[in-house]
Structure formats: C-alpha cells, structure tokens
C-alpha cells in the first residue's frame, strides 16, 4: 500500500515538474525529468567518473570530520572544564570562509584531492560535535549516581552510560553530515580541482547548459539522499529502545565570579592568537595571503579600514538575524509538521536533502527568481542554506519524547496537539538549542554568500573583492569580525539555552 502511494506521489511530482519545465522553456531556467534522463543517458561516463571522484572525497571527509568531532566531544565529556575553550575553538575554525581557506589549502596540498577532503571534513565536524555532545549529556542522574556509588570514574561512565545514551544524537550528527560532506567536497573543487561534480556544475551553469545543471543537481541530491537513508537505517537498527524519562534535579548554579570568567576569556583569546600565528608560521605560509594577527591589528588601526568594515558588518547583520530566525523557524516548523503528518515527511525529506546537497550557486538563481533580490530573496537564500541541521535535529528531538509519557497522554485520550505542546516540544528543546548553536556560524557564512549572489552589499562583497584586489588584510579582518560576531551570538544563544533547559532538561547543563 505504502509502495503504491509512493509511486503515485512520485509520478504526480514528475508530471508537475515536467509541466513547469515545458512552460518555462524559453527562459532556460528549469529542466524537466525527460531532458534530465536524456542528458544522463548521453553523458553517463562523464557523470559516473565525476560522481565517483566527488563521492570518494566526501566519504573520506565524512570519516575524518566525524572522527575529529567525536574525539573533541569525548574530551569535553572527560574534562568538562575544557568545554568552553574547545567549543570556542571549534566554532572559530568553522567560521573561516572558503574564500580565505581555499587558497591556503591549495598551496598546502598542491594538486590532488586534499583540499576537497579537508573542506568536506570541515563542513561536518562542527554539527556532529554539538549533536554528539548533547547525546553524551542526555543521561539520567540516577545512572551516573549509580556509577559513582560503585566507585567508577568518568571514563567508565562514558563507556557504559553516556556513549549508549548518545547514539540517537550521534546519528543526528551523522545524518546532518551526509549531505554536508557531499556539498563540502563539491565546493572544495572550486579551489582548482581537476574533476568532480562541482567542476562540472560550474561549467554547466556558465555554459547555459540547463539540462546538465539540473542533471548534476539531481545526481548530487540522489547520492546525498542515499547516504542519509543508509544512516537512517543504521540509526533505527542501533536505537531499538524507546526513549525514557531523564531524571535530573535542578542544579545549584555555582556561577563563577566575573574575575574568573574574565581571566578565562582573555586566556582563550590569547590561545587563539597563538594558534593562529603558530599554525601559519609552522606551515611557512606566505604573509601575502596568510595574514597574521599583527597584520590585522595594524590594518584595522586605520580608521578608514575599520569604518569600511563596520559599515559592511551593519549591512550583513541586517540580513543575518532575520535569515537565522527564518532558517531555525523553517527547520523546527518542518520537523513539527512532519511529526503531525508523517506522509508529508516522505514527500518533503528528499527536497530538504536536495536543497542541502546542491551548491547554492545552482539553487540561488531559482530562489532569486521566486523571491527577488531584495530582503525576502536574501533571507530565503540564508534560510535554505541553514535549515537542514535544525530539521534533522528537531525531528530526532521530537522522537526523544519518553515512551511512558506518550502512553500516559494516550491513556487520557489527549489530542495530537496536546501531546505535541506538552510532551514532544519540551523533549525537542535540547535538540532545538543544539541546532540554534549550530546555525549561528552557518547563518553568518550563508549571508556572506547570499550577498555576492544577490544583494551586492556587506561583508560577503567585501570578501569577494579579494579575488580581484588581493586585499587579504581586508579578507582576514572580515574573518575576524565574523568570528567575533559568531562568538558573541553563540554566547547569547547558550545563555538563553541555559535559562530554558534549566526548566526542561537539567541534565544538559552538567
């Protein structure tokens, strides 16, 4: 029955798509399923070689990125005092845009797939780190107390209690990572790779080869969906137990004094500068394009440079905040919608994955066509670029509603909406806040991309100018400002999270 309905839906979808494509023929914007199938048949060799290249790099990046994320999260769990430092460093590395990292990676690796694999890894480690950390904390205090009573330490607790509890959230991270790694590998090809789906996409778009562009997008989306689907199957296999209630008493807030916090902050800033300078020196990167902290300090001491930067920042923030909220809202809203009407999920999820796996240069023209180049269009581009992690995390969050509570609601004949409002949404909150933290740097980077694609203003344009002006001082100043904004916004989101989860999920605040 389900298969029959799926086929009917797919056929209707394909027919509507074909109709739209044919209605738009003159504008060369949309290709229909027939034209795509024809292109794929005629160019199968080319596409298979490119897809193999990109997929291989994506898989390697996926493995390395997730491995790094899991190790970081384990370190944070074993040494809770390191959480702030490690989270900040992880956030900062994620904030470095491709335009700054691309040339460095290409000079370091030379020809070959090094930059593509690295960028795929960088695209996934941050979301997995945050999701996995939520999972490692999603334990009931009576379990950890029991371990304590038997004299077992943190390591034993990690292996016997926390790792098992973390599985559903780990899979959230991995499922978010599947399309992200693929996109990262594709975008990585923009740094001068010889082959792959990203290279072909660039060529097809500039060549007005609409059928090729759409075929490449379909292939990319298909591979990402396959990865997502396989990980979903693994998740269902490894999390056979229904979620249980997590008991966690209210914690006494032993807030550290302002002085201690200030010392902590200053030492992290110092550490960042030392690592920044040290890494660039260690690799012998030429200061022409790999700017050091001192270069940026001197550059921004000029009021003219600082003013240019701050004016651009203003323009960027005007879009970043609405874009961020729109992305979060879209992700969480879709997750709730899918929970209420599961059949919608089957139709929506593939589109969501496709939007995540296809480079924004392919999707942006369609969004611009639909929403214009103004405020709505820009916010739409940002929302499309960042909603996916929120959707996946919130879906899992909703699934984490304890089975006992669902039973209780059902035995009283509560409606779906009552269950949603009083049980499922509260259960979703840890995941929602994790995605709210994930979305901070993602939204900033998305806005800078949307700016050169559509609005032509802001930090994104300032950074794009580097390609023709070699103004790497300005580029790295933009990176510094983006990092600062990200850290401050992240701290604000974390503060809100603390207030809310103090009521709903104390275990996360351990």
């Amino acid at each position: 029955m389900a298969v029959g309905r799926f086929i009917v839906t797919a056929v209707v979808f394909a027919l509507v798509w074909e109709f739209l494509a044919r209605a738009q023929t003159g504008s060369m914007i949309i290709s229909g399923p027939v034209a795509i199938a024809e292109y794929l048949t005629n160019n199968s060799g080319l596409i298979v070689r490119a897809a193999t290249e990109t997929t291989t790099n994506a898989v390697l990046g996926f493995l390395w990125g997730n491995l790094a994320a899991m190790m970081l999260a384990v370190i944070v769990t074993l040494l809770p005092r390191s959480e702030w430092t490690i989270s900040t460093l992880a956030l900062l590395v994620f904030c470095i845009p491709l335009i700054a990292s691309g040339p460095i990676l290409r000079v370091l690796f030379g020809p070959g797939p090094g930059p593509q694999i690295t960028l795929a890894a960088l695209a996934v480690y941050y979301t997995t780190f945050l999701a996995f950390l939520v999972g490692l904390k999603a334990v009931s205090q009576n379990w950890t107390d029991l371990m304590g009573v038997y004299g077992r330490g943190r390591v034993a607790t990690l292996f016997t209690v926390r790792l098992r509890a973390s599985v559903p959230y780990l899979f959230v991270g991995l499922q978010i990572a599947a399309p992200a790694a693929f996109l990262g590998a594709m975008i990585g090809e923009f740094t001068g790779a010889e082959r792959g789906l990203g290279v072909l996409t660039l060529r097809a778009m500039r060549g007005l080869q609409t059928d090729a562009t759409w075929s490449l997008a379909c292939v990319s989306a298909g591979i990402a969906m396959l990865g997502y689907g396989c990980l979903g199957a693994l998740r269902r296999k490894f999390t056979p137990h229904a979620p249980v209630i997590l008991f966690s008493p209210k914690r006494l807030d032993l807030g550290r004094s302002i002085t201690i916090q200030l010392i902590g902050f200053v030492s992290v800033v110092g550490l960042v500068f030392v690592l920044w300078q040290g890494a660039m020196d260690a690799f012998g990167l030429n200061p022409f394009f790999a700017k050091r902290p001192g270069d940026i300090f001197r550059f921004l001491s000029e009021p003219a440079h600082l003013n240019t930067l701050l004016a651009a920042l203003g323009a960027t923030l005007a879009y970043a905040v609405p874009g961020y909220l729109a992305g979060l809202g879209l992700g969480a809203g879709l997750a709730i919608l899918l929970m209420l009407w599961p059949p919608v999920a089957r139709a929506t999820m593939p589109i969501a994955i496709a939007l995540r796996a296809v480079p924004i240069i392919t999707t942006a023209p369609l969004l611009v066509l639909a929403f214009g180049r103004g405020f709505t269009g820009t916010v739409a581009i940002v929302a499309v670029m960042i909603f996916f992690p929120t959707l996946v995390a919130c879906l899992q969050g909703l699934r984490q509603t304890p089975a006992q509570i669902v039973d209780l609601f059902e035995s009283y004949g509560a409606s779906r909406f009552q269950l949603l409002r009083s049980a499922q949404i509260p259960a979703m909150l840890p995941a929602l806040f994790a995605s709210a933290r994930m979305a901070v740097p993602a939204a900033l980077l998305a806005v800078t991309t949307a700016e050169w694609l559509a609005t032509g203003r802001g930090i994104g344009v300032l950074m794009a100018l580097t390609s023709s002006t070699s103004d790497y001082n300005m580029l790295w100043s933009c990176v510094v400002v983006l990092c600062l904004v990200a850290v401050v916004s992240y701290a604000f989101v974390a503060w809100c999270e603390k207030k809310v989860l103090g009521i709903y999920a104390n275990e996360q605040l351990a």
Partner: protein
C-alpha cells in the same frame, strides 16, 4: 591582414640545437631529467589556454628540458598565492589584478601578454542590443559588484554617468540575461556570449577594448626573485608557450579539439570550444604580434594600460612590465 608569425618550431629547434646536442650527450637520460615546473592557470581548463595544451602535447616544453604541470584555476583558486609562494613559477593574471597585488606587496612583474585586447564585453540579446556605450543608459546590467570599477572606467572613458545604469548583482551566468531579469551582462567576449550562441540564443556583444578600455589580460606573471634566480626556466617556459600559441593561431579548430581530448572529465562542449577558440584570435593576435611575436608589448601599449588602470584606481608605473624574458625568447 595579419601575417603569420615568423617564429616556428623549427626556428627554436635550430637556435637551441647546439645547446641540446651538448646536454644530450652529457645526460643520456635527458627525458628523465626534466625540470618540474608548475604553471598556474587562471580558470578551469578550456581552450582559453589552448596554446599551452599544444606546447604540452607537441613536447615543446619537454624538448626544452621542462616537465610542466598546468594547475587549473577556479572560483576559489586565486592565481597570486601560489605564485607568491613559489609553488607555481608563472601564473596567468591580468594587468589590473597584478597591479592590485603589487600594491599589496607582491613582487610581481608582467613578463608577457596573451590578450593584447581586454576580453571584457557587454553582452545583450539581439532584440534589445547594446551596440555602443551610449546604449547602456537606462539599462539593467547584471554583473558581479566587484567589477563596478570596470564599468565605471568604461563610463568615464565614454562620458556616461554610471548612475544612469542600473547595476543588478548576479552570478557569472548567462541565465539572468536569457530569462529577462537584466538587459545586458558584463562578461568576457569569449565565454558567456559563446555559450548563448551555442545554445541558440541570438546575442550582441560590445567589446570594451573598442571603446578605450585598454587593460592587458591573460598576462604572464612571475616574481622578481624568479626573474633573477630562475631566468632560464622562465625563458624556456615562455618559448614553449609562444610555439604553442603560434600553432594555435594556424588552426584554432585543432586547438579546440585538443582541449576536449586532453580533458575528458572537464565536460567541455566541442562546439563551444571551437567558437571560443576562434573568438580569442582577434584579442590575442594583432599587427603588433605579427611583427614582434606572440605575447609582445611596447611602451605605447603599456602607457595606454597605465592610463586605464588609473581610472580603475590603480597607480602604476611602467616598472610593472618587464620584457626582458620575452626579448631573450625572441633574441
């Protein structure tokens, strides 16, 4: 009519034959002792670099003792960093990019000029054409905002107020023009218009070089250090390059076919490559190159460049150009 360039493969083999005979006897395994050199291209592989492919395929570089790797460019692969770092000996840039990089402290010299005439053009649909700068008034132009100084320079050169043109930030893609979102595009004469023609979209182009925009493009850049330390390698690299481009000039279709054949994974369209190869010829070959050879430049062309670069906000002197390598190539 442009005369065929006097430099041929035979010319080089004759002039360097003595040197080769000596080194060949001293080093029997000459082929194994080729000197590795990286040559950084400015964009994805295509017939845009056809002469280099011919040099490679016909062994012009290996005959001169070089094992050249052609490093492809891309949207996030700027040419300047690898050349500054020394991972690439020579890069393909443009006079405005090079001037900016020098301003930022890069020790670059322009050692040869492939595109004598700048390839920037205004492309429009033939039904609503932009034939001359005055036609831009009241039009919507799609372009990267980063290129605003280029449009500004064109306007200044032709006495047009840029505020009368509506700039729409777009990706570098012909779709916004074809779908009617803009009236014209700022692009290269040799890429987006070629794509439109091949896809059957009738279009008109106005080459900015015809209206006073004099900026050398597809220029060869090297660092000052390379010019002193690795001079012989630079001479050999450019020699092979010149021979490749001379062959290109004789048969652009063959160059296009070679590009398609050499890069089967690049997804190159043979028809588009042919058209692009032909359209590049008037930009690269002129009376000047017919007389002096491919890549040549003079005090006069440099002076024109300095003037246009001034309009782009780049104050440069003739020191940015260094013809000494080219003079050795033809010496």
């Amino acid at each position: 009519m442009i005369k065929p360039v006097h430099l041929t493969r035979r010319f080089f083999l004759q002039t360097s034959a003595a040197g080769f005979a000596a080194s060949a006897t001293a080093l029997p395994a000459l082929a194994a002792n080729l000197q590795p050199v990286t040559f950084q291209l400015s964009w994805l592989h295509s017939v845009q670099f056809g002469g280099s492919y011919i040099a490679m395929k016909n062994g012009y570089w290996s005959d001169l003792g070089l094992d050249v790797s052609l490093a492809q460019g891309g949207p996030n692969a700027p040419v300047e960093p690898p050349v500054v770092s020394g991972t690439a000996l020579v890069g393909i840039s443009a006079a405005d990019y090079t001037a900016a990089a020098v301003e930022q402290g890069a020790p670059f010299k322009i050692i040869a000029v492939a595109m004598q005439r700048n390839p920037f053009a205004i492309a429009s649909l033939s039904g609503n054409p932009v034939n001359e700068p005055a036609d831009l008034i009241g039009k919507k132009i799609g372009m990267a905002v980063a290129n605003t100084p280029v449009l500004q320079a064109l306007c200044t050169l032709n006495g047009i107020d840029i505020n009368q043109i509506e700039i729409v930030p777009t990706q570098y893609d012909p779709a916004p023009l074809v779908s009617g979102q803009v009236d014209c595009l700022l692009c290269w004469e040799t890429d987006l218009p070629v794509a439109m023609t091949v896809q059957g979209v009738e279009n008109t182009t106005m080459l900015m070089a015809d209206y006073g925009y004099a900026v050398h493009s597809q220029t060869y850049i090297a660092t000052e250090e390379s010019l002193t330390e690795r001079r012989d390698t630079l001479v050999s690299l450019l020699k092979g390059e010149v021979m490749g481009w001379n062959d290109y000039y004789k048969d652009t279709d063959a160059a296009a076919a070679l590009a398609v054949e050499m890069f089967p994974d690049a997804g190159l369209d043979p028809e588009a490559q042919k058209l692009q190869a032909a359209r590049q010829v008037p930009l690269m070959f002129s009376d000047l190159t017919a007389e002096h050879g491919f890549g040549w430049f003079t005090q006069d062309t440099v002076a024109e460049n300095i003037e246009t670069l001034g309009l782009l906000g780049r104050q440069v002197t003739a020191d940015l150009w260094d013809r000494s390598v080219l003079e050795e190539v033809y010496g």
